[in-house]
């Protein structure tokens, strides 16, 4: 479980996120949602220590990341897998080398053991036969899969995904969402996903934090998000006509 307590991050004196608190549990897909520019990435980067929070505290299973020395943070980071918005694959390395990179860097595995682990991870994201290709030679959806495979290479306890399905067609986006949820359950990870995609929200929103203009606006699940009665949240959700329709039907049935 990751706990965020009253976290504030300022840029040039202005808050990008302010006073956000939330608990993210293991074994389920925790979503952070909000419009573009609402502060989702900033919050994620604060949790990861890529940005230093100006106020508040972050706990990884009770371990205070905020007060930790740099050396201990590195240990935590070895338990973290991250899928960046653009995939962030190393473009000078092949698919196989990308997934093997964390193993090369942090384990004493032998070559055969590493190869087996790479195959295991690539199999888990349903990607076979792309080992020798470079990131520039594969599609966006495949890049995301490789990024996920690389993120789970070291068997992380915590998985972070920043807009994992942005730039993908709806079908592929759904597949990626399902994949992340399946891996989260299988490995019991604490998974946090940033998204502004309502399809993801309805599909895998087991826990949802809604951020508006850098502030926590609502917290709930996919089951009660359509009937929250929160105006700002409704504005966000029902910008999409389809969901406006769904709400109508739901209200009609009561």
């Amino acid at each position: 479980m990751i706990e965020v307590k009253n976290v504030t991050k300022l840029f040039d004196g202005k808050p990008a996120i302010s006073d956000i608190s939330m608990q993210f549990r293991e074994g389920q897909t925790n979503l952070i949602i909000g419009r573009s520019g609402s502060g989702k990435t900033v919050l994620l980067k604060c949790i990861l220590g890529l940005h230093e929070a100006d106020r508040g505290e972050i706990l990884y299973d009770g371990r205070s990341f905020t007060r930790m020395r740099q050396k201990d943070r590195k240990e935590i980071r070895k338990e973290v897998g991250m899928v960046f918005q653009g995939g962030a694959l190393f473009d000078s390395l092949t698919v196989e080398q990308n997934v093997r990179f964390p193993l090369d860097m942090f384990t004493l595995m032998g070559a055969r053991e590493k190869a087996a682990r790479v195959d295991f991870c690539l199999d888990h994201v349903n990607l076979t036969g792309a080992h020798r290709l470079f990131p520039s030679e594969i599609s966006g959806g495949m890049q995301k899969r490789v990024a996920i495979a690389r993120a789970i290479a070291l068997n992380p306890r915590y998985l972070f995904c920043d807009e994992p399905n942005s730039g993908l067609d709806p079908e592929t986006a759904t597949l990626i969402d399902d994949l992340i949820q399946m891996l989260t359950r299988e490995f019991g990870m604490t998974t946090i996903i940033n998204t502004h995609d309502m399809n993801s929200v309805i599909q895998i929103g087991e826990s949802i934090l809604f951020i508006h203009k850098g502030e926590k606006c609502w917290e709930g699940t996919r089951h009660n998000i359509l009937t929250s009665g929160n105006e700002v949240l409704d504005d966000f959700i029902f910008a999409n006509k389809l969901y406006a329709q769904m709400r109508k039907e739901k209200n009609g049935s009561h």
């Binding site: 980067k45 990861l48 590195k74 240990e75 980071r77 962030a88 090369d104 860097m105 942090f106």
Partner: protein
Amino acid sequence: MNYFFHIGRYFWMLGKVFARPEKHKMYIRQLFREIEGLGINSVGIVVIISLFTGGIMTIQFAYNLMNPIFPTYLIGLGTRDVLILEFSSTILALILAGKIGSNITSEIGSMKVTEQIDSLEIMGVNSISYLILPKIVAVVFVFPFLVVLSIFFGLVGGLIVGPFVGVVSLTEYIDGIRYLFVPYYVTFSLIKSLFFGFLVSSVPAYFGYFVQGGALEVGKASTRAVVNTNILILLFDLILTRLLLT
């Protein structure tokens, strides 16, 4: 004020560069990749530029020393000393700042804007050291070789062009390049090349690592990196010449 900020951050970066590597094997692998990518791949341009410049210099010396009161060995001697003292160290460094430097800035810069560097940091890799140290070591290592190569091919250029266009005979030229040879000049040139190698790798790395924005900013950073590296090379040339030669 802005300048102090950059200088401070540059030295902060250097502090990180020389931190203890996480895994030596990975660094060695990177190092060989960089020696090939940045060093070996620069041999061609160094040879071509040096051949031409050596040839052109020989013609110009011959032209300027046409009066019979000047002994003909001055042509070879002049070509040699200009190559050793200035061209093959300083001018070559300026040229390589354009090639190697912009390459380093755009590579590191694009890794930055596509979050590949964040990705390394998340994994717990010291990205500054992992990406930049092998480049600095590789460039500082190959620079002296490139300088020697440039001196050699510059002299060969004069040797070919001088007699060919008929401004100096082969024996006069060879006598010239052997006349009053000061070995210390070569030492001086090699010392300079170590400094220049460090500048040509570390300054563009700095500009790449701290890029913010997108592809456009990476391009701008490359330009700024080359300009600043060039200014620093000339500044260090001045200082080192003053300290070591006069």
